[in-house]
């Protein structure tokens, strides 16, 4: 995992090494000097060139850059007007909130519905499930979001887009509201303001449902296929033959065997989930890390793009790691292999 991260960051820095020194100066700026005029910019650039040898061989430069990353100096983005690390800290909670709630919704739902459909193969429920899941995999994510917005926001006025309403946003910035985690749904409860939590949940509803729907469909289809596969195996016959109740066969035997392939599969789709988070954020105007896309792309803002990429890779790796951990906990074979080492 750490090796992957090192290789990917080294590749990104190596790609930037193809350009003249000037392209990399912004990566070392910490944004503490004023940078409003071109003279100030040149002065700051001179200081950086004095301190860092940007003509040095690749490995030397790469390690000094990595050191900077650990110190929290991720470069200065003039579009965001801030150090990238501070900007990440500011915008990440919204994205993390969205990702966590989607995962919490889609993994149990996907596994349950896939199990139910697989156990009742060719029943009415199975047919409805298959048609629904098939459609959900075929429809592009942004269209799901548009359809949901048009139904639940425009027609029914239930779930507004954006992160939080304007009046609440002003209250949050007034200083009376203490920020503990940055996650509005949890901070609201910690401040004793459950109405703010409720409002945050209402704003989260459409992004979370849209994101979950697309990934729920793949996950539950995999679960269904695996369950059908497992049902044909002999240990199921022997478990039923020795008189175990069907409930026990399903939850003790089938479920635990289904868990491993399903968790592997959801770890693999972590990348598309993270891509989906940004797409949903952009369309729902849910101001999180997707801000980096808007600013980073318009003016080739190198630190913003690099920071965005590192954040994305980190979150993908983290999801993969957690799911691997869950797999090790649920699967004795993997658990023993890990413990044995």
């Amino acid at each position: 995992m750490i090796a992957t991260l090192l290789v990917v960051t080294a590749t990104m820095y190596g790609a930037l090494m193809l350009f003249p020194t000037g392209a990399r100066i912004v990566l070392y700026m910490d944004g503490e000097q004023p940078l409003r005029t071109s003279e100030e910019w040149d002065a700051a650039a001179d200081i950086i060139l004095e301190k860092n040898d940007l003509e040095a061989p690749f490995l030397v430069q790469y390690f000094s850059w990595i050191q900077n990353l650990f110190k929290g100096n991720w470069g200065y983005s003039w579009m965001l007007g801030d150090n990238i690390f501070h900007a990440l800290l500011r915008y990440a909670p919204a994205t993390i909130e969205l990702t966590i709630y989607s995962l919490l919704l889609l993994i149990p739902l996907g596994m349950l519905s896939g199990m139910m459909a697989g156990l009742r193969k060719n029943s009415l429920f199975d047919w409805v499930f298959r048609i629904f899941a098939f459609t959900a995999t075929s429809v592009p994510l942004f269209i799901v979001v548009i359809i949901m917005l048009s139904i639940f926001y425009i027609s029914l006025h239930w779930f507004p887009p954006g992160r939080i309403g304007i009046s609440t946003d002003l209250f949050l910035k007034s200083g009376a509201f203490k920020t503990f985690t940055g996650l509005l749904t949890i901070d609201g409860l910690l401040n004793g303001r459950w109405d703010i939590s409720l409002e945050a949940f209402r704003h989260l509803a459409i992004p979370v449902f849209a994101l979950s729907l697309a990934h729920w469909a793949t996950l539950s289809r995999v679960t269904r296929a695996t369950v059908i596969d497992e049902l044909g195996k002999e240990y199921i016959v022997s478990a039923s033959a020795k008189g175990l109740p069907w409930r026990v066969v399903v939850w003790r035997h089938i479920f635990r065997n289904v868990l491993t392939p399903v968790l592997t599969n959801s770890a693999l789709s972590a990348t598309s989930l993270i891509s989906g988070v940004y797409i949903v954020e952009l369309i729902c105007n849910f101001r999180g890390i997707s801000n980096f896309i808007i600013f980073g792309l318009m003016e080739t803002d190198i630190p913003a793009v690099i920071g965005f990429s590192i954040y994305s890779i980190l979150s993908v790796l983290l999801i993969m790691f957690v799911l691997d951990l869950a797999q090790a906990i649920t699967d004795p074979r993997i658990r023993e292999e890990v413990m044995g080492r």
């Binding site: 090796a3 992957t4 290789v7 990917v8 990104m12 790609a15 350009f19 003249p20 392209a23 098939f134 459609t135 995999t137 075929s138 429809v139 592009p140 994510l141 942004f142 269209i143 548009i146 359809i147 048009s150 425009i154 027609s155 793949t218 289809r221 995999v222 296929a225 695996t226 392939p261 599969n265 693999l268 990348t271 598309s272 993270i274 891509s275 940004y278 797409i279 952009l282 369309i283 896309i293 980073g296 792309l297 318009m298 080739t300 803002d301 190198i302 793009v305 690099i306 965005f308 990429s309 994305s312 890779i313 993908v316 790796l317 993969m320």
Partner: protein, 325 residues
Amino acid sequence: MKIRLQSFLALLLLGFILAVAICAPIISPSDDVENPSSYKRVGSIIDRLPHPPNENALLGTVPAQWDVFHSLVWGTRDALKFGLVVSLVVATIGTLIGSISGYFGGLLNSIAMGITDGFLTFPVIAAILFSTMFLALLSNYVGIELHLTDVGMLEQREIVSESVPSELALWIFNTLTKINPFMVALILFSWMPYARIVNAQIIRLKKTEFVLASQILGARDSRLIFKHLLPNAISPVIVLVARDVGAMVALQATFVYIGLTSGSPWAAILFWGRNWIIGPGGSLLNYWWLFVPATFALILFGIIWNLLGDELNVWLNPRERRIAL
């Protein structure tokens, strides 16, 4: 042989969309017959109101008077072209990497699969952002300025450096104008599933008797890979290609809609019309032609290729080897 209803439906819909793509010049003639465009303007460019269906534009127009029906018909061509090109190239790259590293095994396989996993952690959107920035930087240093256009980025390119650009700069400029950075990024960051699937299959097949037999008979490595191993390992790849055609077009449409690239007329209609989707009084029905046809086309395209993939899965793979999904 009994033909499944789903197979029949998939072939029928595929035939329909192919017919539309082939007959596009007849269904909706372009203004410029020699060099047909996927967009047609009916009316004045300064007219910023969407107009309802009339005899000139069968499905109405979006702001700036682009014809919805014309883009809908010609969009099938663009979607098929993009989806097929990207997924076939991606499948070829992935299959080659997966089979060669799987066949030789050992350290080479570990390194190749490690690189594959590294690519897998890169979300497509970060990859697209990075490669677009990379191309923009490259052209900046060559002395070319990239401009934003209506839909998507990096469309118009011109040389802005004051001195006369060198031969190399001109060559890079000419190459850059032909490259679609989005397509490059998508190809670079979508081959991993193929490599993994083929790799697993090849490693499994490598130890079977018929491969050992031809190895003993003295077959060369290339003959073994391409004549014996690949034909036996290719069926899941075919299924995945069919699904990817739809998925790639959906991804392209998504990025066109959020304004990161261009090339999908269907999503471009949605992009131009998105400020008008909500009509007066919050009604969705007032300007229905802005989003209903394009949405329908995108969903239909996705369903066709997914259905085709599922049916190929049933036909090609015997029960035990069928890939889940």
